[in-house]
């Protein structure tokens, strides 16, 4: 048995819970991210069902205006920051070291701190429901509706404080991922041999590193406006609410790519393996991804076309936004090119990946439509935009995540998810989301604004709202079957083997699930698809060495301590300064212990 040195240096009888709380193993942290993220995904889904139930018929009475506003705000916040981003982080964590042939991420303890800080932020945001009211100003929180004058409760302080904490968490993750990918690649793994998924991860990491500081500034300004009577955004004292919009979207638009690029990466892994041929146009896909990342910082004002920007800015931002359609189009064609001429195995993962192409295209093309300010005058803040963003985030991001789950589940657990139930889930999600979100285009066309808790009859909105609500329940059914599938599968014996799909990237070179140290021998990389290269050139895997002397970092409880300090700091920001001071003390102690902790 291969036993890592690190895991021996701890008492054998440590409890399971303590093991999870102190782990610095990237695969365990990935599991924590995954389970927590999926739980929040279910929670945000329930919020969505409540919203759809309220809107099923005109003048609905299921929710009142106040609760509705809290729900649509937290639905977005939860899906974005507590579900899609952490599910992305879960895959990043698990597969960065495995795909680049490393034993762990560059900063294992920082990685653990990232998770615990995320948990603190997530719990804090969600707890607002039980502590006087959740944020209710939309996830974009436009000033001055967020000032104490119009939002006197604590709702928006929960928003600023928990998003600040979540931002810190993502920033730590992003730095860690970027450093890992750049510095810890296996011998022979040149940048242009990185799996596309790694490239997309790298782009996402840089998007986060560059955009999170921006929103951090905005959130602190908002917190100061609300708590210390500054006037960054209050018009009556010389501040400017439009300033908030610029800062928010300067972060907000790159954030969209943070959500979608990981799924583009997953699809770029699944399609070639299932088609049994290399990715079509690797370099083009990589450069297109990077171009999207760069252009993503030059388009923010397309969210502000109706704020009175003036003719020239409208034209400039319209042009830059339309320009993003070009690299996006290149990607779509290259995925199709990957299918072309293949011998495609239609597993559940393939279904999700293939449907991603069509669904994401619909979301992408409607995005290019309202890149035209003339059209956007009608689309902006109408249900057309709701349709658009859900095609990108559900048809795109979520379908991609499910493709990833079905594709990598055998690697992560050694078990195949049940294919029959998997296909049921696929069809339920596919049909359900098209029923839910496609009609929203028609509602937008019929002039239905977003973020309204009620609407009158007689406007021609009844039918499509009812259809949309029906669709959302079908989605819920699909997710339910997935959960059953998961729990059933986890009870079965692991039979998947190392490389069940005949994949070409390094994660398939080790056992399923991988040992704590990932690879007995770090593989040598000779091609973009190293395992296929070895297969085709008859290169056998290196023999397993007799003795493994692999140093792994020991578990540490210190990240947990620091995260507790962050929690206290946040709680103090919402209650009493004294608690914050205590939090800072805990953080200082934690960082000090961190620096001195022995790593043997």
């Amino acid at each position: 048995m291969a036993t890592a040195v690190g895991s021996l240096s701890q008492p054998e009888d440590r409890s399971k819970i303590w093991e999870w709380m102190t782990t610095v193993d990237h695969k365990k942290i990935a599991a924590l991210y995954g389970v927590t993220g999926f739980t929040f995904f279910l929670f945000a889904g329930i919020q969505a069902l409540l919203i759809r139930t309220q809107l099923a018929v005109p003048n609905g009475t299921v929710l009142d205006a106040d609760l509705y506003n809290q729900l649509f705000t937290t639905h977005a916040l939860t899906m974005i920051f507590l579900a899609i981003m952490p599910l992305g982080a879960s895959f990043f964590n698990y597969f960065i070291p495995l795909q680049i042939g490393a034993r762990d991420v560059a900063f294992p303890r920082l990685n653990a701190l990232g998770y615990w800080t995320f948990l603190v932020g997530g719990v804090m945001l969600t707890s607002s429901f039980f502590l006087g009211g959740a944020p209710d100003g939309g996830w974009f929180a436009y000033a001055p509706l967020t000032s104490t004058e119009y939002a006197p409760g604590k709702n928006l302080d929960f928003y600023t404080v928990s998003l600040l904490i979540l931002g810190i968490s993502s920033l730590m993750g992003a730095l860690n991922f970027a450093v890992t990918i750049i510095n810890m690649r296996a011998p022979g793994m040149l940048m242009m041999r990185l799996p596309v998924y790694m490239w997309m991860t790298l782009v996402v990491a840089f998007l986060l590193i560059l955009s999170l500081p921006i929103i951090t500034v905005a959130l602190i300004q908002l917190y100061f406006d609300r708590n210390f009577s500054t006037h960054f955004f209050s018009p009556e004292a010389g501040g400017d609410p439009i300033l908030w919009q610029h800062i928010f979207w300067l972060f907000g638009h790159p954030e969209v790519y943070v959500l979608i690029l990981p799924s583009m990466g997953i699809v770029s892994e699944v399609l070639p393996v299932m088609s049994r041929k290399p990715l079509f146009g690797y370099s083009a896909i990589v450069f297109a991804g990077a171009a999207i990342g760069v252009l993503g910082f030059a388009v923010w004002a397309h969210h502000m076309f109706t704020t009175g920007l003036g003719t020239v800015p409208l034209i400039v931002f319209s042009a830059s936004t339309m320009a993003i359609g070009v690299p996006t189009g290149i990607k779509i064609f290259n995925w199709l090119g990957t299918m072309w001429g293949g011998n495609i195995r239609f597993t559940t993962a393939t279904y999700f990946a293939v449907s991603f192409i069509a669904l994401f295209t619909i979301g992408g093309i409607s995005g290019v439509m309202h890149a035209s300010p003339a059209v956007d005058g009608q689309h902006q803040d109408s249900y057309f935009v709701v349709a658009h963003l859900h095609y990108v985030l559900f048809g795109g991001a979520i379908m991609g995540i499910f493709a990833g789950i079905f594709y990598w589940f055998p690697k992560m657990t050694g078990r195949f998810l049940d294919e029959r139930m998997g296909k049921f889930t696929f069809w339920a999600l596919f049909v359900g989301q098209n029923l839910t979100f496609f009609p929203m285009h028609f509602l937008g066309l019929a002039g239905m604004p977003r973020r309204i808790y009620t609407y009158d009859e007689g406007l021609g909105w009844e039918t499509w709202n009812l259809v949309a609500t029906g669709g959302s329940y079908i989605i819920a059914l699909g997710v339910l079957v997935f959960l059953i599938n998961f729990f059933k599968t986890m009870r079965q014996a692991p039979t998947a083997g190392d490389n069940p799909w005949d994949g070409g990237t390094l994660e398939w070179a080790t056992s399923s699930p991988p040992p704590e140290h990932n690879f007995d021998v770090v593989p040598e990389v000779r091609d973009r698809d190293p395992l296929w290269y070895n297969r085709d050139h008859g290169i056998a895997a290196a023999p397993k060495p007799e003795h493994l002397h692999i140093h792994l970092p020991p578990p540490s409880y210190i990240p947990l301590v620091v995260a507790m300090g962050v929690a206290l700091l946040g709680i103090g920001a919402l209650s009493h300064i004294g608690v914050s001071v205590l939090g800072v003390a805990v953080i200082v102690y934690g960082v000090w212990a961190w620096a001195l902790e022995p790593t043997e």
Binding site: Y142, Y150, E236, T311, G329, I330, V375, F442, G447, R451
Partner: protein, 344 residues
């Protein structure tokens, strides 16, 4: 082999049929939704038409791209589904193809951009000299309309003459709202501390629906308005009627209502020109309240039943309403209703 022969033909035909049916269904639903009361696709002004023409071009291009990708995805899924004996082509790319599908999006995007920029230059350009200026002010949660040149102030119903350019200056008294009458103009936000504007020339007499399109708090959903486009004569007549001051009723229930209006503190928030005490500016001007079609920020029709419901308890009818529950008795409401409807 699945890549050639009849199977391939069947796959292609099937993909095209599925795509065609999908697109056809979408088209039917599109046409159907374009024919609704608050439609964004039945322009009734010059600038809305300009935007709609761009929309049409973009919609056709977008539809074509969508249909193309759906058809290709389906066809490849059918044709290249795994089959015994079939081998996957081991290729890494194709420079010619890749160049082609880099140029294709460039062309499509250019075809969208050129008409867009032309339209934008007109729509966001200066309004014609002879425009009628209207100032629209957003309040939580109702629209006030002022006609500075005519000296008229009203709420929730906007009256305009046909075939005359209208310059709408947009302001807000509290948070950000957005002025949107889909058939007459794309939306432009009303931002506190800024004055935005839009202009258009209505070309058809009729009634058009408007609604606030920027989330503005609890009753955002209930912040609506109507636009009435009249012939010039009808518009002039309407202006004349609005210029008159309200006469204070001398006898009957309405007279009691007028007194009640003072006693209940309504005067502190509402203006009634002709009633020297009623000079409040927090709520809508009520000088000609009786002639308005909509009540409570366009939320409901202005009928006696709804007005009673409103006066009984405004926040119960409209969440968050700035007009508080004044705990009026039924008799007080009787008299107030009589008074308010005397304000024609």
């Amino acid at each position: 082999m699945g890549r050639s022969g009849p199977r391939r033909m069947i796959a292609i035909v099937l993909s095209l049929v599925i795509t065609a049916v999908t697109v056809w269904l979408m088209y039917i639903a599109f046409v159907d939704s374009a024919d609704t009361p608050q439609t964004t696709y039945q322009a009734m002004s010059d600038n809305a038409q300009l935007a709609q023409d761009v929309y049409t071009i973009i919609f056709i291009l977008a539809g074509a791209v969508m249909a193309g990708v759906i058809a290709l995805t389906l066809a490849f899924s059918f044709i290249y589904r795994e089959r015994p004996g079939q081998q996957a082509l081991q290729i890494h790319g194709n420079s010619k193809l890749e160049l082609l599908w880099t140029l294709l999006p460039v062309l499509i995007v250019a075809a969208m951009a050129v008409p867009t920029f032309n339209a934008i230059a007109v729509i966001t350009g200066d309004a014609p000299e002879d425009s009628l200026e209207v100032k629209a002010v957003g309040y939580q949660w109702w629209f006030q309309f002022q006609y500075p040149e005519l000296g008229v102030v009203t709420a929730s119903d906007l009256h305009l003459p046909v075939d005359r350019p209208i310059l709408v200056k947009l302001e807000s008294k509290d948070v950000i709202h957005s002025f949107w009458v889909p058939q007459l103009s794309g939306k432009v936000d009303m931002v506190p501390g800024h004055t935005n504007q839009l202009w258009f020339t209505p070309n058809t007499v009729g009634e058009f629906m408007g609604q606030c399109a920027e989330f503005c708090g609890l009753s955002h959903a209930n912040m609506r308005f109507r636009v009435f486009v009249h012939t010039q004569e009808d518009f002039d007549a309407w202006v004349q009627s609005q210029l008159a001051e309200a006469a204070t009723p001398e006898e009957g229930l309405a007279a009691a209502g007028a007194q009640q209006f003072t006693m209940s503190g309504c005067i502190g928030c509402h203006t009634v020109r002709g009633n020297a005490l009623a000079m409040g500016v927090i709520g809508p001007e009520l000088t000609h309240f009786g002639s308005r079609t909509r009540l409570a920020g366009g939320m409901v029709e202005n009928t006696e039943v709804e007005l009673r419901r409103w006066l009984k308890n405004p926040p119960a009818m409209k969440p968050g309403s700035i007009m508080p529950n004044l705990n009026l008795t039924d008799e007080q409401i009787d008299s107030l209703v009589a008074y308010l409807y005397s304000l024609q």
